[in-house]
Amino acid sequence: MTTSTTPIPARAVTGSDPAVSLAGVTKDFGPVHAVRGIDLDIRPGEVVAFLGPNGAGKTTTIDMILGLSQPTSGEVSVLGLRPRQAIAHGLVSAVMQTGGLLKDLTVRETVQYTASLFGQTRPVDEVLAGAGIAGIADRKVAKCSGGEQQRLRFAMALLPDPALLLLDEPTTGMDVEGRRAFWAAIREDAERGRTVLFATHYLEEADQYADRIVLVSKGRVVADGSGAEIKGLASGRTIRATVSDPDTAALAGIGGVDNVEVRGDAVIVHAKDSDAVARYLLTQTDARDLEITAKGIEEAFLSLTGDSNDDPEGATA
């Protein structure tokens, strides 16, 4: 079958458009405010984790980026195009956690079926081999294990060589080795310019593999930065050093210090700016055995998305 060429608006040609751009996006379901105003730009080639508790509005936001639902207000654009246009051009793929497969098709038929719906795709055999499912190409989907079905979903998503890949809890059910191999492949693609946005509950995973973490809670972005920045933002770091006769008042006076504690000859300082505290201790005192520890991202996550930020209309789906 032949394919027609539809020119993409000139705006996209510059390549300077963000991979994803959300401007003042809200989404209501009746009286429920699922998304309450998200502004977000994701640059091409970024690997971004979308992190948040259930009901934070992650899935609703991803659905709007995919053009599966329309925002109540605000603008969504993908690579400078409207979401449905980007999908029609084969620029966006998504991998959902479950479902999305016909049990009575074989693995190869599923990929062929999907491939024939796009304007152009990578060769079916190449994609099957790349996903490690060439050996089970003639097996019925119903007879594939959960892991094999997940690989098939990836094969389908990678068929059009998308510029933007959205993943919903991508490594659920994978073992440690599988997870590592998966992320290695994703990082490799990102280096070629593919943008990846993944929703996850594996907080460590977000910290380890994302360039950037966008923390969402109650329909808003509550934090946005690298894993280290998020952790620092939420709970700061703990500096511990052995100091003879510490000047607690001077320590407490350093900007960003939350708490100073003396235990025997050790001083323990909680601070947002650990560098300033360390610099003071090492230059102004006889401190030794200095240790700086970051709190885990788990704690950062809890303190940023917890119930501390009071919101009377906080009921979200």
């Binding site: 079958m1 032949t2 394919t3 027609s4 060429t5 539809t6 993409i8 996209a12 040609v13 390549g15 640059r43 091409p44 080639g45 970024e46 659905d63 995919l66 599966l68 639902s69 690579l79 999908i87 029609a88 051009h89 084969g90 620029l91 966006v92 793929s93 998504a94 959902m96 479950t98 479902g99 999305g100 497969l101 016909l102 049990k103 009575d104 098709l105 038929e109 062929q112 079926y113 999907t114 491939a115 024939s116 719906l117 796009f118 304007g119 152009q120 389908m156 060589d161 510029a163 990102a190 280096e191 070629r192 310019g193 593919r194 360039d211």
Partner: protein, 262 residues
């Protein structure tokens, strides 16, 4: 962070909204592979014809330009076409339950191309069912009617089954089940009886008046019209058109709801 970007300027939108012969081929293969579908839409109408239609006590009685066997053959072909078209349309129920419909919405496939594909599959299977009953009927030799009646009746039974493709689609959106045909099979058997496919219904009786507003009535009478002769009644055509409108409207309504919710 990144030296390269993926070239987004050379991407093409597929023609015809993503309609593809590959998909059509795979969809047809799916239906033929489904033993339950094959039994109920291909084997059962043939068996019913052989059991009911070839009975020696009435089979050779005259019916229009042919015999009673021919009359029953046409009825069973119409029943097969109705079952096949409904099954084809109702496939959407399982696809929605499995999340396949959502998956398809992440591809360039347009809803119109999707419906076109499903309709062609439903009609192709309807054709297969009509051909099966007619070929077995011809080989069996009991049914007698002029050649043009064979052809006209088969074509009408097949074309009229499009109403039930829409019915299957509507029910497929209404009933989110993987086994929607287990519900629709008995419903269709009942509608076939009311529509006059199992036994003739006196048009002037109370039963006849009820029959005239049920969905299979129009198709049953139009399919037998080449055999029985005369002018087709306006009521038959009206019945077919009204039910087609109801089912297409219902399917379109459910489909738009579906899109809005996901």
């Amino acid at each position: 962070m990144t030296a390269q970007t993926i070239d987004t300027t050379t991407r093409r939108v597929p023609p015809l909204g993503g309609f593809s012969l590959t998909v059509l081929r795979i969809e047809l293969r799916r239906m033929v592979r489904n033993r339950r579908t094959v039994f109920f839409t291909l084997v059962m109408p043939v068996l019913l014809y052989l059991i009911i239609g070839t009975n020696d006590t009435y089979g050779d009685d005259r019916a229009g330009s042919g015999n009673v066997s021919a009359y029953i053959l046409i009825s069973m072909a119409a029943y097969g076409a109705v079952l096949a078209a409904t099954s084809g349309g109702a496939m959407v129920a399982a696809e929605r339950a499995l999340g396949w419909s959502r998956q398809l919405r992440l591809t360039p496939l347009s809803p119109v191309a999707y419906i076109a594909t499903k309709s062609i599959v439903a009609l192709a299977f309807g054709a297969l069912s009509v051909v099966a009953v007619n070929v077995v009927g011809a080989l069996n030799g009991k049914a007698q009617m002029p050649t043009h009646v064979w052809i006209a009746a088969a074509l009408i039974a097949w074309a009229g089954s499009v109403v039930f493709g829409a019915f299957g689609l509507f029910m497929g959106y209404l009933l989110p089940s993987e086994n929607v045909m287990q519900v629709l099979g008995p419903v269709l058997a009942g509608l076939a009886a009311l529509g006059g496919l199992w036994f003739p219904i006196d048009a002037d009786s109370t039963m006849g008046h009820i029959s005239a507003v049920t969905p299979i009535y129009g198709l049953a009478n139009l399919a037998r019209w080449p055999l029985l002769g005369g002018a087709p009644h306006l009521a038959w055509i009206l019945n077919l058109v009204v039910w087609l409108t109801v089912f297409v409207g219902g399917a379109a309504w459910r489909m738009s709801k579906d899109t809005a919710r996901v």
